[in-house]
Symmetry: C2
Subunit: 152 residues, 2 copies
Amino acid sequence: MFSMRPIGYVKSAYSQTREIPKGLGAQHEAEGSLDVLPEFEPGLKDIEGFSHLIVIWVFDRAAGWELVGVPPTDDRPHGVFATRSPRRPNPIGLTVVELIAREGTMLRVRGVDMLDGTPILDIKPYLSNVPPERLRRGWLAEAEARAAGGKS
Amino acid sequence: MFSMRPIGYVKSAYSQTREIPKGLGAQHEAEGSLDVLPEFEPGLKDIEGFSHLIVIWVFDRAAGWELVGVPPTDDRPHGVFATRSPRRPNPIGLTVVELIAREGTMLRVRGVDMLDGTPILDIKPYLSNVPPERLRRGWLAEAEARAAGGKS
């Protein structure tokens, strides 16, 4: 077992899960902030040079987990490791946000899909993309194609 | 505090940190596998449709952490949250790998930069890129430019 502790908390307009856009075509343009605990401030040195950050956080309000489930983006069941479901063996969430500005220990960001008060475990710079011509998106691409075609 | 437990382990050709390519222009094309524990096998359903996976893992052999350090890609110090340093407040690593094949609970992957036996906390599908025209890479781009220009 590994013990992890918050390095900060998310400030977000979402206080309930149902307020967060979900499903096919959901856009995450909401602004919010990553409020890093003062003791970790030196760790933010030079972060303002990066346009995008990877935030690793805890689904602290998810109850339990299931190995197979139906995601909001499809009407068919998929394995939890093939989805972004909050109900995971380790309740770890990951969001790529755009860094708007740094104000001391507060990082103002765009693309928040976390609840207000969500504990943050780590922040990393986003460095590179997967070559688009090599990216395949499995059942999600199939669900999008079915939705676009109006049939299941 | 949050407790996390391994859902599997990395199989890799690297048994020591110094064998892993580091620094500017390091390529991670090594093949290896993500060996998921049998109890979590149902969670892999439909994962084979995705070309790339995000692996969240533990730097289990990193000793301690520091908030500011000099990364192998530069000769200047940067904050830990602006680097991929293993010496982090929570020793969480993240690697995007290409999925070559699934064989039961074993995912054969390319792009391994973890040590053999590294504990895996989570696997998620890689779904989308940051728009390339909006991606800025801060001190890393500056270090690359200096290296290319042959001056510091």
